[in-house]
Amino acid sequence: MKARTVFLLALTLAVCLVLLTIQSRGRGDIAADAVAVVMTPVQKGLAAIHRGAVGLWTTYLDWKAVRAENHRLREEVRRLRVESLAVSETQEENRRLRRLLELKARLPIQTLPGEIIAREWGGWVRSLTVNRGRGDDVRRLTAVISPDGLVGRVVDVRPGSAVVQVLTDPASTVGGHVLRTRTPGIVEGDPRGTLRFKYMARDGTDLQVGDVVVSSGQGGIFPRGIPIGRVRAIDDRGAALFHYAALSPVVDYARIDEVLLVTGDLMQDLTAFFVAPSGG
């Protein structure tokens, strides 16, 4: 071992012993002061570095916590949005079903509620399929209504379902009259998906835009007084025998989800049981 190394050790130990001796003799202040002169700047520097490191660490932890919280909140927002959509959907369905049930309870005729399970919406055919069929004693030509008005008639009955021809089907015709003037006529489906009211010119002189057309009850398929549509425009054909009025259907056939199938007496006048649209 080198003499320098041994000397270094001896010197180090000597310094330590001197420091300890000074302190043991009650003059610790001198030694502490001497060390403090050297150490205090170092300690200050270390303390600053410590504060910086702790600050950085705390910032990192905060950032990590904020990030985790942000992730959690995003998940919660996503879940709540889905829940909110589900609740809105349920509320809307509840509102529709409530209206349907209110109508069913209000009507003096026997009805059967049904749910739309399919739609045929090409230009050639416009129909809905309901989840009621032969097993529910549904028959061909059964009238189908909704809280807003007339939907159509059953044209095909299957074991668990029935096909309903809606009024806008090009092959659909329904006897109707204008609620205000009692002008009789025929409501026909249109390939464009709208309705038109065909009436004799001499009967329809008082017809106005906004008038409500309801079913006439003639023909024995539909009860009398169910709203069909509202006059949107009048096609005055001069001296022609028949004039036409374009109708806006009171029922949105593309969006309807629940219907009532009229299974009872068809001879009743139901005008008073539907909320009369303005203009009627």
Binding site: L8, L9, C16, Q23, G28, V35, I49
Partner: protein
Amino acid sequence: MRGVLALTIFGGGIAHATVAPAIRIADVAPDIPLIVVVLLALRRGPEFGCVGGFVAGLLQDASGGGLLGVQAMTKAVIGFGIGTVGARLRVTQPLVQVPGLVLLSVLEGLARFTLLKLFHFPASLGELMVYVILPQALYNGFLGAALVLALAWSESLREAR
């Protein structure tokens, strides 16, 4: 030599002041300056270990508010001793590192206790051993071994380049 010495002392001091409280387990913090002195004394020899241990210990004495020179002496002796016998030890083996550091930490604790007893230190050795020296020694052993492995890994990466 001076640069490494300064780095050792200040690096150890900074680590002790910043990292040690953060990695405390059940109120037991590792003695990072001791680990650093031992590890670098093994590589740099007894002179480095002695001076490094002395300054690091003095820094700890001063910052802790205890008797100046106690840790300076114990760490200087430990650094000198391990620097002297280090060449003959196979310290790359974790089976040597962990018990070795534990043993050194216990020895340092015993030496410190002996010195403090000369100045009428009131605590008993049994309590100190159970609650302070042994837990810290175990922590030092595992942390030191992890540091050695990390150093060996970084050196192998550097050599691979």
